[in-house]
C-alpha cells in the first residue's frame, strides 16, 4: 500500500487541507494502520502543544511605545527596590513548588479533559500566596507613583496609559480567577504579575520623562 506523505498527514492534523482532500486522506488512514498511527501522533502532539497555557501580552505595549519614542534608550532598572522583593518572593515560591515530590502517573482515563490534577500542596500554595501579596504591594507602590504623576500628563498620554494598565489588570484578574488552587496555573499568574510590574515601571518612567 502506498502511504500518504507525512506533510499531508500533518496538514490534515493542523486543519489546513481543503475538505475534499481531507476526506481522501481520512479515508486512506482508516484503511492503513501505519498512516492512522502517524496521524494519531500528529494530532496528539498538536493537542498537547495547543493545550498549554498562554501568557498575556497586553502589558508589553507600554514598553514598546516607550522605546519607539526613545529608540536609543534601553529599559532601565530604576524600580529594582520595590520590584526586587516581589521577584525574590516569587523565586522562593517557584523553589517550593518545583521541589515538591513528583506524583505517581495517573491511571489512563477516557478523555484528556478528565486527567487528574496534581494533589494540592499546602506549602506551595502558601508560598504562592506570599509571592502574590508581595507582587501586589510592589504594584501599589508603582500605581501610587503613576497616580502622583498622572495629573501633570498630557490627557491623551494619560488616556493611553490608563487603557494599557486597565487591560493588563483585567487580563491578570481573569487569569487569577481561572487559576483557583491549581499550582501550575498560579505560577503562570505570578509571571503575569511580573509582567504587570514591568509595564507599570515603563509607564512611570515614560511619564516622568514626559513631564517638563
Amino acid at each position: 500500500m502506498t502511504h500518504v506523505p507525512q506533510e499531508e498527514l500533518e496538514s490534515l492534523a493542523l486543519g489546513e487541507l481543503p475538505r475534499d482532500s481531507a476526506a481522501q486522506v481520512e479515508a486512506h488512514a482508516a484503511a492503513c494502520p501505519q498512516c492512522a498511527r502517524e496521524l494519531s501522533w500528529l494530532r496528539a502532539e498538536q493537542t498537547l502543544l495547543a493545550s498549554r497555557p498562554r501568557a498575556g501580552t497586553a502589558h508589553l505595549w507600554a514598553g514598546i511605545a516607550a522605546r519607539l519614542r526613545h529608540p536609543r534608550r534601553r529599559p532601565h532598572r530604576a524600580w529594582r527596590i520595590s520590584v526586587g522583593a516581589a521577584v525574590a518572593a516569587a523565586a522562593a515560591a517557584v523553589l517550593v513548588v518545583t521541589v515538591r515530590p513528583r506524583p505517581e502517573p495517573a491511571a489512563p482515563q477516557a478523555t484528556r479533559q478528565r486527567r487528574e490534577r496534581p494533589a494540592i500542596d499546602p506549602k506551595a500554595l502558601a508560598a504562592l500566596d506570599r509571592a502574590e501579596a508581595d507582587y501586589k504591594d510592589a504594584a501599589k507602590v508603582l500605581e501610587a507613583e503613576y497616580a502622583r504623576l498622572r495629573p501633570r500628563l498630557d490627557p491623551e498620554m494619560a488616556r493611553r496609559w490608563d487603557e494599557t494598565l486597565t487591560r493588563a489588570r483585567a487580563q491578570l484578574g481573569e487569569s487569577r480567577a481561572v487559576a483557583a488552587d491549581d499550582v501550575n496555573v498560579r505560577m503562570r499568574v505570578l509571571d503575569g504579575y511580573a509582567g504587570y510590574l514591568r509595564s507599570l515601571r515603563d509607564v512611570v518612567q515614560e511619564s516622568e520623562e514626559a513631564i517638563p
Binding site: S40, P105, A194
Partner: protein
C-alpha cells in the same frame, strides 16, 4: 492592530525558545520594536507572520548567545531514535504528566530544531515561511522538523514505558 493580533504568538514562541518569562517579555518587545523599524521593507503582507517569527528567532538566538558566553558547554543533544514500538499516542494524551514531559522534551531539543518544530505545529507556519524565517533550505526544514518529532516521541514514549514498569 498588528501587535494585538500577533504578540500572543510571538510571546509564546519566545517563551518556548528562551524558557524565561522575563526574557520572553523583553524579547517580544524587542521583536516588535525591530519590526516597527523595518515594517516598510515588507512587500507581501501575507508574509508578515513568518517575517515576525524570523525577527523573534534572531532576537532569541542573540539572547541565548549572550547568555552562553559565561555558561558551561551544553550537553550533547541525543539523536532521535525510531519509536515504532512505542505506546500509543492516545496513551500519551491520557497521561497525567504529559504536559511536563512534553515541556522537558521540548527543552532537550536544540534551539533551532525546536524553533522550526514550534513554528510548524504550534503556530501553523508553512514550510516555505519557516525556511525564510530560519534562513534554511526547504529540505533542511523538513529534516529538522522530522528529527524533532522523533525526539519528542521518544521522550514521551520513554516516560510512558517508565510509568508502565
Amino acid at each position: 492592530m498588528i501587535f494585538d493580533r500577533e504578540a500572543p504568538g510571538v510571546r509564546r514562541f519566545l517563551g518556548d525558545l528562551l524558557r524565561d518569562d522575563a526574557a520572553a517579555d523583553e524579547g517580544t518587545q524587542e521583536t516588535f520594536v525591530r519590526a516597527h523599524q523595518r515594517l516598510t521593507t515588507i512587500e507581501d503582507p501575507a508574509k508578515l507572520r513568518g517575517w515576525l517569527f524570523g525577527i523573534a528567532r534572531m532576537v532569541s538566538f542573540e539572547h541565548l548567545r549572550r547568555k552562553r558566553r559565561d555558561a558551561l558547554p551544553a550537553e550533547p543533544v541525543e539523536e532521535p531514535m525510531q519509536v515504532d514500538q512505542a505506546p500509543s499516542p492516545e496513551a500519551v494524551l491520557l497521561s497525567a504528566e504529559s504536559d511536563r514531559v512534553l515541556d522537558g522534551a521540548l527543552a532537550n531539543l536544540a534551539e533551532e530544531r525546536r524553533a522550526a518544530l514550534l513554528m510548524r505545529i504550534d503556530h501553523g507556519l508553512g514550510y516555505g515561511a519557516i525556511a525564510a524565517a530560519m534562513g534554511w533550505p526547504l529540505q533542511k526544514v523538513k529534516n529538522e522538523i522530522h528529527r524533532a518529532r522523533l525526539q519528542i516521541r521518544a521522550s514521551l514514549a520513554g516516560y510512558l514505558d517508565e510509568g508502565a514498569r
